[in-house]
């Protein structure tokens, strides 16, 4: 096996994208630049291909070529089951176990550490379409064995009906390859959500859009609620628009399942929280400011997931979980920033425009 089956986030840079996927490569790059991102490690994409036993591969190939394979639901069930049934090799368990121990040590959380296990397709962004939310992501896992099982689930998620259909449409080999898995410290989120560095509805580059809900971000990214909404003027940081969401559910840790196996689940949101905006204006502006910085560094509009940790002081509590190029508008011709030119306080301009109302000023 490769001696680098697992990479700690601290060593990951942009150049590792072919092995850890662009998502994790960007996160590593971000961490190295001093941003507040959850610590973690990545099981590299090569592992999947090394690990799956020959017999299982032959079986997979047979399934994919089967006459019944046009029934994608059937095919997906069969393929995923097959992957999930494969025993994990000791070398992988060792490597993941060691990385997990290192992470526990770095975070100082020891056995209390909970993680998110996220698929990270090496090609997901390069294809020009968003895989966001289509591959497996599992939150709140604590036990290393459980982590291993969910890494395998991530690999299996490469055979969902959606993923198969996608590859079919694009004339790609149906085998799921090149899938890395990130294991990140789970930020104990008071509030979480996304920020787009342009208006995803209109493509207006002058506005940043924040959507958020109480608890973990899953309720937002999976579209389970109408989140709270803010539109922020890029140039001034001013909040131009705010809409209260219909926040009837939230993503929280399900403590009833027992401490060891508790997971993030969707629960009814207490009424007293539902009525309250889940971010302060200060938090909204900070998130937008940082997202704009990210866009600046990346050179294209970004779609950024973030979470605000409980029990940490602002702005240390704001974590950036992942970011990727915004896919809807980046292929379209750029819509210029539609806000009027910058308005520093120039007494002459203000007098002419705002008070004397001279036409054309």
């Amino acid at each position: 096996m490769t001696d680098e089956a697992v990479l700690d986030l601290g060593v990951i840079r942009a150049l590792h994208a072919p092995r850890v996927g662009p998502k994790m490569a960007r996160l590593g790059q971000l961490a190295s630049a001093g941003w507040r991102v959850p610590d973690g490690y990545v099981v590299t994409a090569g592992v999947l291909d090394e690990w799956l036993p020959l017999a299982a591969r032959a079986e997979l190939a047979r399934l994919l070529a089967a006459e019944k394979a046009h029934d994608l639901t059937w095919l997906a069930d069969q393929a995923r089951q097959l992957v999930e049934d494969q025993p994990l090799p000791a070398w992988l368990a060792e490597a993941v176990g060691a990385a997990h121990e290192r992470l526990r040590a770095r975070t100082g959380l020891a056995a209390v550490l909970r993680v998110a296990v996220r698929s990270s397709a090496v090609t997901e962004d390069g294809l020009g379409a968003s895989f966001a939310g289509q591959l497996g992501t599992y939150l709140g896992i604590r036990d290393p064995d459980d982590v291993l099982r969910h890494i395998r689930k991530c690999w299996a998620s490469g055979y969902t009906a959606w993923a198969l259909s996608y590859r079919m449409r694009h004339g790609l080999p149906l085998e799921s390859r090149d899938l890395a898995v990130g294991v990140m410290q789970l930020v104990d989120a008071r509030t979480a959500g996304v920020v787009f560095t342009l208006d995803p509805i209109t493509g207006d580059r002058g506005r940043l859009i924040v959507e958020a809900n109480w608890g973990f971000g899953e309720s937002v990214v999976s579209g389970q609620v109408t989140p709270d909404y803010w539109a922020v003027e890029r140039r001034s940081g001013r909040i131009l628009e705010r809409r209260e969401g219909t926040k009837d559910v939230w993503s929280v840790l399900d403590e009833t399942a027992g401490a060891a196996s508790s997971r993030v689940v969707l629960m009814p949101l207490p009424a007293e929280l539902a009525r309250v905006p889940c971010l302060s204006d200060e938090e909204v502006r900070y998130i937008c400011e940082k997202a704009a910085e990210l866009e600046e560094a990346e050179g294209v509009p970004q779609d950024v997931e973030w979470a605000i940790a409980r029990d940490l002081d602002f702005p240390d509590c704001v974590f950036f979980l992942q970011h990727r190029p915004e896919t809807t508008w980046s292929a379209a011709p750029a819509v210029p920033d539609q806000t009027p030119p910058a308005k520093a306080f120039d007494p002459v301009q203000y007098a002419l425009r705002n008070v004397f109302k001279v036409p054309g000023t």
Binding site: S236, F345, V348, A351
Partner: protein
């Protein structure tokens, strides 16, 4: 002909009464950007005219009209033209009898607005960027002129020198007023820009003047000195004559007391610095405190009625604390880029502070610029009356400047005709002086709104003010107070300075009656100017017919920490001296209790 003797090429052949056949130029039609002081004509019904009792409460004698031309007419027009203020070409004045009304000259084509806007920034920006130096230069120029005029020994001049001095004094007066409006329009731009920014970021524009409060002014120092003189009068045992005798006869009685001479010397030292001021603007007929210290003595007497004195340090500290609290409140309400712009605007307006300058410039311009003209004219008048040309020196105040110049620069044979006009003109002035308090606040067509923020914030032409006037009969003798037969129980205006006070009203229509105000009373008046400032140390509250957030009464009330409501339109008519009233300076209301 010797080479050094003058040579004349006669113009006689070209002398005409008409410029062209059928066209004779009207008097005064040339030297103005927009138009000189004139009486009303029927066409003036089409626009609004505001009575300017703020600056000229008692009317103008003929010689004052040239000074008014220099100031609110020519000075404003030239200032607006040179600065390039886009929406206005300054102000015009009309006279109702001898009383001054002001109107604005709107620029009403887009092209003119835009072409003025294009040069406006070039003129204004460098001045605002370095305002201290710029105003320092102008103030030094004015001060140098005063040093020149004040040092002249008029009585020992030969006639030619004296006439030259009259002409120099008029030339200086005109220059002083150009400086006035040049600086005013530049500072106005800065102030209005802050006003516009405040509105854009969700604050009220009228809050802005409150952010600029708490700056010391020359007249603020004057008032402190007057309080000190009052305290010394008490210590030196000279209060009695000040309290009991008319100012004109008080000197001998004070100097007869043990420490009387000491105190009077202190007064004279005070006057040497602070006494170069008249009670109104452009009024050649009002003496300076140097000539007649009565206004200072009256103020000292009114301060003696309040033995505790006035704690200026505490009042200023409170005014600054209040200002800073308002700024903090405003800053909390905005953020991000808005906050950055707010801070820039605040810094720009502190460096070039219209609210401060609006009071500060008076001692260098409004209340002083006419004194050299007055003193030289009086000396000339003394000589002419000695020569039997006129009956007393002040008769010259009843000649128009062109009349005086023509007679002085010709052979002087016209004196008899001119002198004969004086009694009628004097009677005319007296007639109108008496009518002054009953003249309407506005004439012409009262608009729904006035777009010019200066007219709103300084003169108080708010929507409420205009609505109140439209609802009444024009604000004259039969004002809205008596309309409908019912008494007005509550009067509304602009909330100019916070606080609540209840007390007895004292209605004052001219600054000459200001000394009748008693400590703890509530001053009710048309509007106030610098001359009214000392009263703020003894009154409990102030209510004005006119005014907005930038009005003298509003600014001074904040410094003195008393409640103030301005722009009520009707207070002097709805309230009578002796009424018990309650003023709420935060709500902007005045209740007549009984």
């Amino acid at each position: 002909m010797p080479a050094d003797s003058p040579r004349v090429f006669p113009v006689d052949e070209f002398v005409r009464d008409e410029l062209y056949p059928g066209y004779r130029q009207a008097f005064g039609s040339q030297p103005f950007v927009a138009g000189p002081v004139r009486p009303f004509s029927k066409a003036d019904n089409a626009r609004y005219w505001l009575r300017d009792s703020l600056h000229f409460s008692e009317g103008m004698v003929p010689a004052s009209i040239a000074l008014l031309d220099d100031a609110q007419t020519w000075g404003a027009q030239l200032g607006a033209e040179i600065v390039g203020v886009p929406p206005t070409r300054g102000s015009v004045n009309r006279l109702a009898g001898t009383h001054v009304y002001i109107g604005t000259i709107d620029v009403d084509t887009d092209w003119q607005m835009q072409s003025r806007a294009a040069r406006f920034g070039e003129y204004v920006s460098p001045i605002l960027a370095d305002f201290d130096r710029y105003w320092g230069m102008r103030a030094a120029e004015l001060q140098a002129a005063y040093d020149h005029f004040d040092a002249l020994d008029l009585t020992s001049m030969d006639p030619g020198q004296l006439w030259t001095t009259v002409k120099d004094a008029y030339a200086f007066h005109r220059r002083a007023w150009f400086i006035h409006f040049e600086v005013m329009y530049v500072l106005t731009a800065n102030y209005l820009a802050f006003y516009g920014l405040a509105e854009e970021i969700g604050l009220a524009g009228s809050q802005v003047s409150g952010f600029l409060a708490g700056e010391q002014t020359f007249y603020g120092r004057t008032d402190e000195e007057l309080w000190k003189l009052a305290a010394h009068a008490r210590e030196l045992g000279v209060s009695e004559p000040l309290l009991r005798q008319a100012p004109r006869s008080v000197r001998a009685n004070i100097e007869a007391l043990a420490h009387g001479k000491t105190w009077w010397r202190e007064l004279e030292e005070f006057l040497a610095t602070f006494g170069w001021r008249t009670e109104e603007t452009c009024r050649i007929d009002t003496p300076s405190w140097i000539e007649d210290p009565s206004p200072a003595l009256e103020r000292i007497a009114s301060f003696l009625a309040r033995p505790a004195g006035f704690d200026f340090d505490a009042a200023r500290a409170a005014a600054i604390a209040e200002r800073d609290a308002r700024i903090d409140d405003a800053r909390r309400a905005v953020n991000g880029d808005d906050l950055a712009r707010f801070d820039q605007a605040l810094a720009s307006n502190r460096a070039a502070n219209f609210a401060w300058w609006n009071e500060e410039h008076n001692y260098l311009i409004d209340r002083r610029a006419a004194i050299p003209v007055r003193l030289a004219t009086l000396e000339l008048g003394a000589r002419l009356s000695d020569a039997g040309r006129i009956s007393r020196p002040e008769d010259l105040f009843f000649l128009f400047k062109p009349e005086l110049f023509e007679v002085m620069e010709s052979d002087g044979t016209a004196w008899a005709n001119l002198a004969a006009l004086v009694p009628d003109r004097r009677a005319y002035f007296e007639h109108w002086r008496e009518r002054g308090p009953s003249l309407p606040t506005m004439l012409g067509t009262i608009p729904l709104t006035v777009p010019d923020p200066i007219m709103i914030e300084v003169f108080g032409l708010s929507g409420h003010f205009l609505e109140t006037l439209r609802g009444g009969t024009g604000g004259g003798e039969a004002g809205p107070a008596s309309a409908g037969g019912g008494e007005i129980a509550e009067i509304r205006g602009f909330p100019a300075a916070k606080g609540v006070a209840e007390g007895v009203a004292r209605v004052i229509t001219t600054v000459g009656d200001l000394h009748t105000v008693l400590p703890g009373e509530i001053l009710v008046c048309g509007g106030t100017t610098t001359e009214w400032t000392p009263a703020f140390g003894i009154i409990a509250a102030c209510v004005c017919d006119t005014g907005g957030s930038l009005t003298h009464a509003a600014i001074v009330s904040r410094e003195y920490g008393i409640p103030c409501v301005v722009g009520t339109a009707v207070a002097t008519q709805a309230i009578k001296t002796g009424d018990r009233v309650r003023v709420d300076g935060r709500a902007g209301t005045v209740q007549v209790l009984a």
